[in-house]
């Protein structure tokens, strides 16, 4: 690649336009572009091309017959994804059946009542079970129209929205300056209990941050898991359990967790 002493490497101009430079390089390259007409012109052209490609509809939606063909590959395709409460009831009922071995538990037993029993009985695999549910809730939320109950980037709108819907006040933190945009909030159900989900976004990756009291074993340190390709982080802070789920890369989700966690700590606490 053509790099001269006087001009920025074109690959760096591309990386700057792509938002892929670290802070130190961003400063250097931006400073150079600001003072160099030739590089400024190149940078402008790269951005113009990016804008043109972003505005053109270049994505090719899968044709309907292909979608049916792919769906037909999986035997489970017949059972449509169940709504939250039904699939939860199913999951609890399945677990319950396997636990008492053969006793039929009818639909008469409500999911909530079962969940109370279950909370007392779960031990080692409780966290795994919750992690699976949290991931399912995340996937469900990505389906059109399911993501947000309250849609705003204003933390002072999201937080009061949860009042009266939950017995906890989930912290809602504005991390826009740190590259995580607040999208809104949603009420979800995990293990039959209502939980708050605060939704953030980095680039096109959605992060669901589930917050509730006692959602899994208390964890002073962050527990990392990967389930079905989604990164999951769980930790306990200020008496609340936090579960962050996203298809964001692991290190970026760690960064998110650190920022949330740092904001929760009262000033002066170590």
């Amino acid at each position: 690649m053509s790099v001269t002493a006087n001009h920025a490497d074109e690959m760096l101009l591309n990386a700057l336009a792509d938002g892929e430079l670290d802070a130190g390089h961003v400063r250097d390259v931006e400073a150079h572009v600001a003072g160099c007409a030739a590089c400024a012109e190149k940078f402008k052209a790269i951005r113009a091309l990016r804008a043109a490609m972003a505005n053109a509809s270049l994505k090719e939606p899968a044709p309907a017959h292909l979608r049916s063909r792919i769906e037909a590959l999986f035997p489970a395709a017949a059972s449509e994804p169940a709504p939250a409460s039904a699939s939860l009831k199913g999951a609890v009922a399945r677990w319950w059946r396997s636990f008492i071995g053969g006793f039929a538990v009818g639909g008469a037993l409500s999911a909530a009542a079962t969940a109370i029993l279950v909370i007392g009985l779960f031990t080692a695999n409780q966290d795994q079970q919750i992690a699976d549910e949290v991931v399912s809730a995340h996937v469900r939320s990505l389906q059109a129209g399911h993501l947000m109950d309250v849609q705003t980037s204003d933390q002072h709108t999201v937080k009061p929205w949860f009042n009266g819907k939950l017995d906890v006040a989930p912290p809602v933190i504005d991390l826009t300056a740190q590259g995580f945009t607040l999208l809104g909030g949603r009420l979800d159900y995990i293990e039959g209990e209502p939980v708050a989900s605060v939704i953030y976004q980095r680039r096109k990756h959605v992060i669901n941050l589930f917050v509730a009291q006692r959602l899994g074993a208390a964890r002073a340190t962050v527990q990392a898991k990967t389930i079905q390709g989604y990164n999951v982080r769980h930790w306990t802070e200020q008496g609340l359990d936090f579960w962050a789920v996203s298809d964001l890369a692991g290190d970026e989700l760690d960064e998110f967790v650190q920022k949330i966690s740092a904001d929760l700590r009262p000033p002066g606490a170590s």
Binding site: E10, N14, A45, A48, L49, A52, L66, L73
Partner: protein, 206 residues
Amino acid sequence: MASDASGEQDRARRFRDAALPYLDDVYTLARYLMRNSADAEDAVQECYLRALRHFDSYRGPAMKPWLLAILKNVCYAEFARRGKQDVPADVADDETATDEPVWQEPQSTPEASLLRQQDDATIRNLVSALPEPFREAIVLREINDLSYQEIAAVARVPVGTVMSRLNRARAMLRAAWNAANGAAQATARPAAQSARSAAATPGSAS
């Protein structure tokens, strides 16, 4: 207990929930790699079959780049099977770098005209006309929205190679765009190339 059958069902359901949301992304890459819909559809189907087979051993990274990496392998295997000329496998990026000018001076106001006439079909055709592996890189970046790291993982090359491929892809798109719009007159290319090749073959540039 009937746990085997239900376990299998459960696995298929989990796979479906995790992988199906990316069908459009997978199909898009398949369209740009295979360049026609029938081959693209076959590749997508093979991709999902393979992904389901390997789902148990799958531990990350994210689902989208994982699926796209499988799709890419399926497409390349198909190219190899056909003995296609276009087989993109491991083209040495830098050696081919002199075929096209990496940077072409804007003739009139190409960026203004880029913004003015966003002709979807034209851009799509220009992208489709890019040689591998530059087409793959730009599609993964601009259409599938992958990060440099994720593109590197899909293409199995270092991030530096991804950067150089994207740079080349964009330079070629700009040049092709200029040519398509007539902004670059017949004089533009030879002028740019003669400057570049002057040292190697003095006097040969007409």
